[in-house]
């Protein structure tokens, strides 16, 4: 069981949350003008890194707010959470 710190509510059990996958996927500004391959890229293609990842999570059984989480996909270590719209924190293995 992960202990995830909601930026609003503090540490809560993983079961209170819903994971929304990779964060910072920008929706194309003009979908009708997009070739199918580019739309498929937006909808389906994800980085799936082995290591640190920025993810979207939602505190479903608590404040019901979306936020971003930096999590290691192998060790499940959590480096921190940050609000939607906040500046991107560096990943722990990135030089700041």
């Amino acid at each position: 069981m992960l202990l995830i710190s909601c930026p609003w509510c503090g540490p809560r059990d993983e079961t209170e949350f819903h994971c929304g996958g990779e964060a910072h996927i920008a929706r194309p500004l003009d979908p009708p003008a997009l070739p199918d391959a580019a739309w498929a890229g937006y909808v389906f293609m994800r980085d799936n890194p082995k290591g640190w990842m920025r993810e979207r999570w939602m505190h479903a059984q608590g404040c019901r707010r979306w936020f971003n989480l930096v999590r290691h996909t192998v060790t499940h270590e959590i480096a921190g959470a940050y609000l939607v719209g906040a500046p991107l924190p560096p990943l722990p293995d990135e030089c700041p």
Binding site: W8, C9, P11, R12, T15, E16, Q61, G62, C63, R65
Partner: protein
């Protein structure tokens, strides 16, 4: 006489009364008026003036003035608990004060039923089905949390040092949760075992 109305918990009234013991008292809260307010930060002070009750901006806190309480549900969301007879006038006052802004004030009185759990073992009973740290250093009177109790989404409010907790739950889950609490309290009423218990 408190307004108990007619609720889905009525058939459990006797069982709830029988479950209570000195260590943990379980009861049904009187029906309370509920107004859900969604409004941005800029409307917080306006709404506070209109209600004559400052909305808490610190997460998971409750502001109380005796007869009413404003419960933090989110950075732009509050639940106002108040006498049922005051719901319509309160919604009207909020609509007038916040007119022209981006907000919603809605009567949600039918959305939750309240149970009260009180006594020295109340934390121990809740801990059987709740992952939240309820130790006094982490959760105190005036604190609230939306969390899961026995896997059921609840709004938990600590009222006093007894400690007394209010547990608000969707009516459709209320019977299950009340039965779960009755069962969770049961062991506290067991007779001591000679030679094992002192």
């Amino acid at each position: 006489m408190a307004d108990r109305g007619t609720t889905i918990l009525d058939p459990l009234a006797a069982a709830i009364a029988a479950a209570s013991c000195e260590e943990a008292r379980l009861s049904r809260l009187p029906l309370v008026g509920q107004v859900t307010l969604r409004a941005g930060r800029d409307a917080v002070s306006l709404a506070g003036v209109a209600l004559d009750l400052a909305l808490p901006t610190e997460p998971n806190r409750v502001a109380s003035d005796g007869g009413r309480a404003a419960v933090w549900l989110g950075p732009d969301e509050w639940l106002i608990l108040l006498p049922r007879g005051d719901v319509a006038s309160t919604v009207a006052r909020l609509e007038m004060a916040l007119d022209g802004g981006h907000f919603a004030a809605v009567d949600t009185s039918a959305a939750r039923l309240g149970l009260a759990l009180s006594g020295p073992a109340a934390r121990q009973v809740l801990a059987k089905g709740c992952g939240l740290d309820l130790h006094p250093r982490a959760f105190a009177p005036g604190d609230c949390a939306q969390t899961a109790l026995a896997r059921v989404p609840v709004l938990l409010v600590q009222r006093d040092e007894a400690p007394t907790f209010w547990v608000f739950v969707r009516p459709s889950y209320a019977v299950f949760l009340a039965r779960w609490l009755i069962d969770a309290i049961a062991e506290l009423r067991l007779a001591p075992i000679p030679g094992l218990d002192t």
